[in-house]
Amino acid sequence: MARTVTPRRKLYFTLAAWTVALLIFFPVFWTILTSFKTEVSAVASPPQLFTADWTLENYAEVWSRSDYPRFFWNSVVISVGSTLLGLLIAIPAAWSMAFVPGNRTKDLLMWMLSTKMMPAAAVLIPMYLIFQKTGLFDTRIGLVLALMLMNLPVIVWMLYTYFKEIPGEILEAARMDGASLRNEIIYVLTPMAIPGIASTMLLNIILAWNEAFWTITLTTVDAAPLSAFIASFSAPQGLFYAKLSAASTMAIAPILILGWFSQKQLVRGLTFGAVK
């Protein structure tokens, strides 16, 4: 905006905005801080912002007590795998909806979203039994499938909103230039939609990474990702704040860092076409 703002006004707004933002961020900050404290200073009253006895011991302890690399790797495989598989299925669907819309396209989209409204707890038992029977229980491929299907409506919706911004004439030009439908999608649509596909990918990796219901109920050991890792650290271990904080930090750090770096693309994707 080309209006003039007095420095004083700007200072007030800056102070207010930073105060609010720091309040929102504080719990994350406090967790990370606590993870470097000793158990004694972690529960000190009044709470200490800085202590003299910084330590990495909590991380060492958590690392030695559990198989963090396996949990981590499972998280990566499951979230990235389900997202890529989802994209593969969703791109053609979104192409259809965006470029060959019919009278029922909106209804179809809404129906897809409504499948997400079914409470997971309601279908827990059948899902558990199906996974047991088909041998998918506690396997990565099983979770990849489950999370892909869970997030597919979101992926289709996001891609649909991006594709709709691409002028249909360009795809027609490709058709005139002799491109088959497959080539049209591979050489023209997909490269043009890369920013949209990237933010769709990011959001879905985050959603899959943070999913905690199916990942906990459909795994025991082999395929358990970080959400199961953190669940195992809560209650039964007793209240060791510093170690709990270290484990929490280890569970959220990868996605937090990924999110910070890709914040711009992600926020664009988050709008679900809400902003033109």
């Binding site: 080309a2 700007k10 707004f13 905005a17 930073w18 609010v20 933002a21 720091l22 929102i24 719990p27 994350v28 406090w30 967790t31 606590t34 009253s45 009044p46 969703a90 053609p92 669907a93 192409w95 060959v100 909106k106 179809l108 809404m110 979203l113 409504s114 409204m117 409470p119 997971a120 707890a121 309601a122 827990l124 059948p126 899902m127 299907l149 409506p153 027609e172 439908l181 985050i206 990474w209 943070n210 905690a212 970080l226 669940a231 809560s234 209240l239 709990l244 904080s245 569970a251 959220i252 937090l256 999110g259 914040q263 926020v267 988050l270 709008t271 679900f272 809400a274 902003v275 033109k276």
Partner: protein, 290 residues
């Protein structure tokens, strides 16, 4: 742009998504429906047979059931109200000319990256814990009794935690919407003599309608199934004070190990979700078209 052949191609390409989602929805649903009419207890497997509507009757006659329904709606409504109102305020604040808008956005978005069990456990232990939590320390420092958040105000505490998780989502969508508002439009309104309040009322709010719709839609989808936060913090208690429908079903299935009863609860939850979805789509659908 549609020829017969491209319409056929479109059908074929949308088919995998539709079929997969249909199977993913219908198979568990059908099984759940089946179990809901069966007697099926893991603890007494020798008893089996048809249960008729007794599981449904049990739910409808249970005092906890209506509490669970109202808790579920309270959770969804409460979080929606808090995140939408605070989200707009936060977005308006960050949209002002301030120093460091980039870092501000990073700080605000961070809770969104925290997985629900971690978020719940941070709040439960580091902040709301009656002995060692930060809030308790402050209360004691000021000479008050620590508040027993999860015991005395379980629903409010859960709503608070979930709102913290979802506030970034709402705030950042609103911020993006605000930033897409053309400054010429605002300046024209200023020239026409509109004050800050009327500019907000007649220009900013109508511009935000679509993004508010999307926030409500997406959040409702995720909030109806909220489970992890309750499981980690209050376990539905004290008593049943913070039991929501999904949690009540979970208790029947995993703690009471009564699959038939849990299945009946599942069907009821699906019906509730559909009622909510119906009203949501009807009232919001048109906002999405434009």
């Amino acid at each position: 742009m549609a020829t017969q052949s491209s319409r056929i191609a479109a059908r074929l390409m949308v088919a995998p998504s539709v079929i997969l989602l249909f199977v993913w929805m219908i198979v568990p649903l059908a099984l759940t429906l089946w179990y809901s009419f069966r007697i099926y207890r893991l603890l007494s497997p020798e008893r089996s047979g048809w249960a008729g509507f007794q599981h449904y009757a049990w739910f409808l006659n249970s005092p906890d059931f209506w509490l669970a329904i109202s808790n579920t709606l309270l959770l969804v409504g409460g979080v929606l109200a808090i995140t939408v109102i605070l989200g707009i305020l936060v977005a308006l604040l960050i949209d002002q000319p301030v120093w460091g808008q980039g870092p501000l956005r990073i700080l605000v978005i961070s809770p969104f990256f925290v997985m629900p069990p971690v978020a719940a456990s941070i709040w439960e232990n580091l902040f709301m814990h009656p002995q060692n939590g930060m809030f308790a320390s402050f209360a004691q420092g000021l000479g008050f009794q620590p508040i027993l958040f999860l015991e005395s105000y379980p629903m409010s505490s859960v709503i608070f935690i979930v709102s913290w998780e979802w506030l970034p989502f709402a705030a950042l969508i609103f911020l993006t919407a605000l930033q897409s508002l053309s400054s010429e439009q605002m300046e024209a309104a200023e020239m026409d003599g509109a004050g800050a309040m009327s500019r907000f009322r007649y220009i900013v709010m109508p511009h935000m309608t679509r993004s508010i719709t999307v926030v409500i839609l997406i959040q409702t989808i995720f909030l109806l199934g909220i489970f992890g936060e309750i499981y980690t913090t209050t376990q539905g208690g004290p008593g049943s004070a913070s039991t929501t429908l999904p949690y009540m079903i979970f208790k029947q299935a995993v703690i009471a190990k009564d699959i038939g009863r849990a299945a009946a609860g599942g069907i009821i939850a699906v019906i509730l979700a559909n009622i909510v979805a119906f009203f949501l789509m009807r009232s919001m659908g048109k906002n999405l078209d434009a």
